[in-house]
Symmetry: C3
Subunit: 208 residues, 3 copies
């Protein structure tokens, strides 16, 4: 089909912006949920809906990538950026679903802190992604990537202190099993945010 050589106009920047803003919404929803005494069915549904919207956005990017001949930056980088932003969204949704499944009671101070770090990270990412349109923003974007790296380090420390506290205070092994999993999954959201930042850095370096 010739259509793949003459694609309809598709603005990757716009789509990445939408995906990043969806991630900001997801983090806000996540932060609200972990501050409550339990995960209601309604709350889980809302989180899931945001995650599905994110899926659709990532899918649209992939779909256009496959059909587009000329892209503003490396195909592989576009693919990875869309994928990784989607994964952050997935992780928040998984944490919420698992907390409900395990009937865990909140608010848990460690989860509130995880939500805070994730919220900060996705806000910084959203700014960096918006900046990709113009190389004049390079220095600010690189600063943003460093900031995401710092938030990931804080996430590592938070997971460690949360696990230490858990093993010291919680004597019921079943509760230990549940919370340990939740903390470890929550921390991976920040790991993937760091991958997103690396991906953005790599796009910048190639454009420079």
């Amino acid at each position: 089909m010739l259509s793949k050589f003459f694609p309809k106009e598709f603005n990757f920047f716009e789509f990445f912006d939408k995906q990043a803003l969806n991630l900001v919404d997801a983090a806000a929803c996540f932060r609200e949920i972990v501050a409550l005494p339990e995960v209601s069915e309604e709350a889980q549904r809302k989180m899931k809906e945001i995650e599905r919207n994110g899926d659709k956005m990532a899918y649209a990017i992939m779909d256009h990538l496959n059909k587009t001949f000329i892209t503003p930056f490396d195909r592989e980088d576009i693919h990875q950026l869309a994928n990784e932003m989607d994964e952050v969204n997935d992780i928040m949704n998984t944490v919420v679903a698992r907390m409900r499944l395990y009937k865990l009671k909140g608010p848990d101070a460690n989860m509130v802190q995880f939500a805070e770090l994730i919220t900060q990270a996705v806000n910084v990412i959203s700014g960096a992604v918006a900046g990709l349109r113009d190389m004049k923003n390079m220095n600010n974007i690189l600063k943003a990537c460093v900031e995401v790296g710092n938030l990931e380090s804080l996430g590592d420390r938070l997971r460690d202190s949360a696990l230490m506290e858990l093993f010291e205070k919680e004597k019921d092994p079943i509760q230990v099993i549940k919370w340990k999993e939740i903390y470890q999954i929550a921390e991976t959201a920040l790991d993937i945010c760091k991958h997103v930042a690396h991906n953005i850095e790599s796009i910048l370096v190639k454009q420079a």
Copy 2:
């Protein structure tokens, strides 16, 4: 060496068919095993043998990929398809080995259901892979990929209900630790089946 520019004839489609049929065998063996009261040494050996045959097939594909100049579709897609089909096989083998190691007693109704979903998924994949030879099959292949996606969603729900049941009924934390791991690994077999389906879709889109 010139030989890499003039490779011996190698039919990737045939090899992918063989790998997919090996996966169908693996799933059938897996389904038999989880229906028994325990994993015997003999059963584990049979599962392992199928997995090793799968390894050899994946290796043969990779080996020819490295030596072949012209391929029927993207090199990266060939690499990934062989790898991911192999991983589904690995996961079934891991589940069986771990069930034997943990001396878990069967048949467990949830595992029987996992085996059923995995069997359906690899059968659908096998049909889709066979169809890749001819673009006339495109619509049927795309339908097959959607079906694998649906089976993966059922796998997610099955894992969730299995975990919920486990935490409600099983009071021995050691048993909880063992079965939780088994269910979570089993579900990843369906995740990887979905990756295989995505990979097949991506091959189709590029050919279209």
Copy 3:
């Protein structure tokens, strides 16, 4: 910037050598630590420092890769080799940090054996990486890669026997949770060593 077309001389071989030697140091430090009755703050700091040095080396390789036009082998292979060697280092550091966090008492005979296998694997890798400069070393390098594969198989068996022993002897579920995680993470160090060996094989095959 023109600079990316006229990069300063950068010898990837030298940098991979440095990274491999750093990995040898990391394994030696890891082996010392698991032979002690507990992980001291000092020991953890030493392990972390080696890991940070490894990070810097991997980063330097990535950075030059992005700026360099002509590379001695596939860009993707360079990227992966640097990444995977770094990951082996990360895993050892994670095991040590987690052992300290969990206040686990040593020396544990299984961990001593894991450290032995990892030490052997990274020594073999270091030799193979050094050999990449000259295709005359091809046969020795391929032998080294097979050896790493064998060490990984031994690692699988060690993890299985360690888990079996754990579930048989340890009656405290909390201890089971902690040690199970440690053994499973330790084994992944050998998995990644095998990935490194595959990566080296793939580089060789393409050069042949």
